[in-house]
């Protein structure tokens, strides 16, 4: 236990802001996962690998002299087609099947992506420098990298944009209808096959945006995808399916919780404490449901 954070209270501000910025980025990835989980009932283990692939697209732009910030436009455009391609090749064969089959299939995709990226891009850890500088607050005692602020702002823009798209556009309405009841949507003339492909494409595009932001704020490596999958999975579990504001809140909440756990319990317990929180939340939910005499769907 370390009480430095209580002795130096300004660290609490730093921890909260770091946590919120980090959480927003993770929430964007979780948002994509929640979307396609809700619509297609598929848990995508390859989520993190799509993020890393988006990161590599940005990295190569950076290498060829283009500012990596533009990756947030180019990476999702490319990743959308990667997503649609993946759907046509693999996912459409598992979409109506047991959840376990889809986990296996996406797990396979994940391994394939890791190896292919390793083969194509090499095993070096790389990053894209944005040179965005730093924002100093409270007489320089709190520092916020502008790249992280940029990441949070872009994430919010994409998330809000998507919410509007889902509400207003024809495809968005079709996606929501399919999520509610695929069979009924089909009877009413919705081409569910097309909706599924678009949903998976949109998810991949969101991963592309997140990947671009990861390359700008952190580092990328072919084998670094899994933590992003796990994190977004946890955020979705805590928020509940189909609860988009919940995804944002649980993303930020987890981010802040993680930072505080780091300061108080020590860095080595950071990830562990997040898992502990997940278990507690699941036990609590179970308890609440059993009191209401409902059943878990």
């Amino acid at each position: 236990m370390d009480f430095l954070i209580f002795q130096v209270p300004i660290l609490m501000v730093q921890a909260s802001l770091d946590g919120i910025l980090l959480g927003i980025l993770f929430a964007l990835i979780a948002y994509g996962m929640a979307l396609q989980w809700g619509v297609m009932n598929i848990i995508n283990i390859a989520q993190g690998d799509l993020v890393i692939l988006g990161g590599y697209i940005t990295y190569f732009m950076y290498l060829s002299g283009i500012h990596p910030a533009l990756g947030v436009i180019v990476a999702p455009a490319i990743m959308y087609f990667v997503g649609v391609g993946l759907y046509k090749l693999v996912i459409n064969k598992v979409v109506d099947r047991d959840l376990f089959i889809s986990i296996l299939a996406t797990f396979g995709i994940s391994i394939l992506f890791m190896q292919l990226m390793n083969f194509a891009f090499g095993a070096d850890v790389v990053l894209a420098n944005s040179d965005f500088g730093t924002t100093m607050l409270f007489n320089n005692s709190v520092t916020l990298p502008n790249s992280k602020i940029f990441a949070a702002v872009i994430s919010i823009i994409f998330a809000i944009g998507l919410v509007f798209y889902m509400k207003k556009s024809k495809l968005g309405r079709a996606i929501r209808a399919t999520a509610q009841n695929a069979r009924a949507a089909k009877i009413l003339g919705v081409d569910t096959e097309k909706v599924y492909a678009a949903t998976f494409g949109i998810n991949a595009a969101l991963c592309g945006v997140a990947g671009a932001l990861v390359a700008i704020t952190f580092t990328i490596h072919p084998y670094m995808g899994l933590p992003y999958t796990i994190r977004s999975f946890m955020i979705v579990i805590i928020a509940g399916l189909g609860n988009l504001p919940g995804v944002a809140v649980s993303g930020m909440g987890l981010g802040v919780f993680e930072e505080f756990a780091d300061y108080i319990l020590g860095t080595e317990f950071r990830i562990g404490s997040v898992f502990l929180l997940l278990v507690l939340i699941l036990v609590y939910r179970r308890f609440k449901l059993s009191r209401k005499r409902e059943y878990l769907k």
């Binding site: 430095l4 130096v8 300004i10 660290l11 730093q14 921890a15 770091d18 980090l22 190896q115 390793n118 083969f119 090499g122 095993a123 070096d124 850890v125 790389v126 990053l127 420098n129 730093t134 100093m136 320089n140 005692s141 520092t143 990298p145 790249s147 952190f218 580092t219 490596h221 072919p222 084998y223 670094m224 899994l226 933590p227 930072e259 780091d262 300061y263 020590g266 860095t267 080595e268 950071r270 990830i271």
Partner: protein, 411 residues
């Protein structure tokens, strides 16, 4: 029916017997001494695996073209059988078995990384096969009582303790305060133990001791703590990811420390990926081209650097240099043993006492090289061009240590 079964099993038994007896001659075939190595050509260690392989190959070509190995009045050439271990310890151990049992290899070269060396060492030990390794530095490799394991590199606990000594020296011999952040893996934790020893020895104070999870690529919390407690030295070790993340976030968060010491700077291509932001970082290295060690095959570090760059198109990281040195050690041992007997070669290896372009090599009881100190270089920039310059030990220093590091507001 029964008869055919008996004949069939007899024939297959014979075939198995023949195949093993044929390959068991493989250790020395004609004028070739066959060495075996499982190496990471794919998977997460593939970059460093390739550096290792290039280092081995370069030394094999050089030794073969300069007269080979003389044993019993006859000249032999080196040849290496490689298998790809996919950066996977289990696979590496299987491949070591295969090299020894099926291919009949009787002398091994190490894989890349401490983890994979740890997986292979019990196998080579079981079969009494001498292994010279160049890329497994973890202290635990040398405390298990292995008799057939020899490492040309300095063990991990010696990587950064020099930095603490240097900081104390710069502080006028007075103890310093230290903040540490180490990844939770065998290698980094060994580096940490070395730093802890140095802290104890110098009476210094440990302010922060963070253990970074493997999947973490955000050090913001650790660095915010560093900003708050203001230590004299910040020590970071977490492979290439740790080095890159630390430099990026130290620059972004404007963390001012008088001394920053880390590992894996050249593997991370720090000065290339981060440019001026990496300036003043102190890095532990097994080897640097400007060191003045010499041998007959590669002459010295500068020549090795030039030759390697010419052949492979990139400057050799220390992982390549130490791998080349492993072959020089084998050649020397074969010639002194004047035999291909595994035990005699092993004993000759244990008696090794030589200088290579990479450094002096002399093995302790546990197999680690005790005759080659680590060097520290500092990233120094002239305009936008950054270079690594050796600053410690003073015997090889090509530049004066810049201490304390200028604050971010003055840069």
């Amino acid at each position: 029916m029964k008869l055919t079964k008996i004949i069939l099993s007899f024939v297959s038994a014979l075939a198995i017997l023949l195949s093993t007896s044929v390959t068991s001659f493989a250790k020395v075939v004609g004028d070739k001494i066959v060495l075996g190595s499982a190496i990471s050509l794919t998977g997460k260690y593939s970059s460093n695996g390739v550096h290792t392989q290039n280092g081995y190959n370069m030394a094999v070509d050089r030794i073969n073209s300069m007269g080979g190995v003389k044993v019993g009045g006859k000249t032999y050439k080196f040849e290496i059988i490689y298998y790809d271990d996919e950066s996977n310890p289990k696979r590496a151990a299987q491949l070591a078995e295969r090299l020894i049992k099926q291919d009949g290899v009787e002398y091994m070269l190490g894989p890349y990384s401490s983890g994979l060396t740890k997986a292979i060492a019990p196998v080579t030990e079981k079969y009494g096969v001498p292994m010279v390794e160049a890329n497994g530095a973890s202290r635990s490799l040398f405390t298990k009582g292995y008799k057939y394991l020899f490492a040309v590199l300095a063990p991990a606990n010696l990587y950064l303790d020099v930095a603490i000594d240097l900081a104390v020296e710069k502080n006028g011999g007075k103890p310093v305060s230290v903040a540490m952040a180490f990844e939770q893996d065998a290698f980094s934790q060994d580096v940490r133990l070395g730093v802890l020893d140095a802290i104890k020895r110098t009476g210094s104070k440990k302010l922060i001791d963070d253990k970074l999870p493997k999947e973490l690529n955000d050090m913001a919390a650790t660095l915010a703590k560093v900003k708050a407690v203001k230590p004299d030295v910040l020590v970071v070790s977490g492979h290439t990811k740790g080095a890159l993340t630390a430099i990026r976030q130290i620059a972004e968060m404007k963390v001012d420390v008088p001394m920053l010491a880390m590992t894996h700077c050249d593997a991370a291509k720090l000065s290339k990926q981060h440019g001026k932001n990496s300036q003043y970082a102190l890095c532990a290295s097994q080897w640097h081209k400007t060191l003045t060690y010499k041998d007959d095959f590669f002459k010295d570090g500068m020549t090795y650097d030039a030759d390697f760059t010419k052949e492979f198109g990139y400057a050799p990281p220390y992982q390549a240099a130490e791998s080349s040195a492993a072959l020089l050690v084998f050649k020397d041992a074969f010639e002194r043993a004047n035999s291909f007997d595994k035990v005699k070669v092993r004993d000759a290896l244990a008696d090794t006492n030589m200088q290579t372009f990479y450094g002096n090599i002399k093995f302790a009881e546990g197999g680690q090289n005790v005759d080659k100190p680590m060097v520290l270089f500092q990233v120094m920039c002239d305009g936008d061009k950054c270079e690594n310059k050796v600053v410690a030990p003073t015997k090889w220093a090509s530049a004066e240590l810049i201490h304390p590091i200028p604050s971010w507001s003055q840069r």
